[in-house]
């Protein structure tokens, strides 16, 4: 019953030309329903732009961009995954940022819906996106610092523990403190 659904061979080959330098730079995996996903580790962030142009030419749609926190990925470097969908198949381009190449090109000119994703990346992760003109905050309150999830601040400090600090103490003592505030 199960049918294997694979991607566009020409497109996979073309995207493969942008991912050649690292070991295991391209790989593929399917889920239990036979839907294939393709992954490409791009050689340099700058290659994102031509790769996006190739995907656009085939009629792909940008579905999501996910950035990673520097503190959790360790030595492998910080990467950003750009997920595209074409005819039900997901292609993921992975851009690795290094100390010398710490910015990624904006692909908003190619995919209009990249705008929000890129702004979110700037806001929550403090990633430089060259050519992204819109610097309005998307989600974060002005009281919070940009690049919040980047993890420069230790998590325990960043997360305000307002709710938990004394919750269990109160619960276990059955404390009634509703009245005193009125």
């Amino acid at each position: 019953m199960q049918i294997q659904r694979t991607g566009d061979a020409a497109l996979v080959a073309e995207l493969g030309t942008f991912a050649t330098q690292q070991e295991n730079a391209t790989w593929q995996a399917d889920d239990m329903y036979g839907n294939m996903t393709y992954w490409f580790r791009l050689d340099t962030p700058a290659l994102l732009y031509p790769a996006a142009v190739a995907l656009k030419a085939k009629g792909a749609r940008l579905t999501m961009v996910s950035a990673c926190r520097r503190d959790t990925v360790g030595t492998s470097g910080r990467y950003i995954s750009y997920h595209f969908a074409l005819k039900g198949i997901v292609y993921t381009l992975r851009v690795t940022l290094t100390d010398t190449e710490d910015s990624t090109p904006s692909i908003t000119p190619i995919f209009a819906n990249a705008d929000w994703h890129e702004r979110e990346m700037i806001e929550l992760y403090g990633i430089h996106v060259t050519g992204q003109p819109n610097d309005n905050r998307l989600f974060l309150d002005e009281k919070l610092d940009a690049g919040l999830l980047e993890g420069a601040v230790p998590l325990s400090v960043m997360m305000n523990g307002a709710c938990t600090t004394d919750l269990w103490e109160r619960v276990l003592n059955g404390r009634e403190d509703g009245e005193e505030k009125k």
């Binding site: 309150d141 960043m158 997360m159 523990g161 709710c163 938990t164 505030k181």
Partner: protein
Amino acid sequence: MSNLLNKLSVRSPWLFRINAGSCNGCDVELATTALIPRFDVERFGCRYCGSPRHADVVLITGPVTLKMRDKVLKLWDEIPNPKVTVAVGICPISGGVFRDSYSLAEPLDHLIPVDVNVPGCPPRPQAILEGVVLAKKIWMRKLGIEEG
């Protein structure tokens, strides 16, 4: 004179709701309770109003995000006294599943005095109705009138 007004107004507390960053669950259930004939909160003389200045009972949903905090306080401040505050859902009561997030302010009762809690995720409309009935009782107590 004011006593007479108080006595007359007991039959019709006006409700106002504030979404302080809720996931919609409690909000939708509030809308269901308020607006559809099945649960019909108007049976108790309660009615939803669009302006905080008319309100007597305020229902607050959501875990109070930093961005909503000042807005919630401002709206709450505009409601004339005596008012009754109802926290709907576990989020405003204790932070619920979102507690410890960087983007939340404090639980509601650290910010303003809360009178009634209706826990649940979300509470079913019947439970919200119980909360509203309880809130009405407290409101009458605050006005110095016993339920007759």
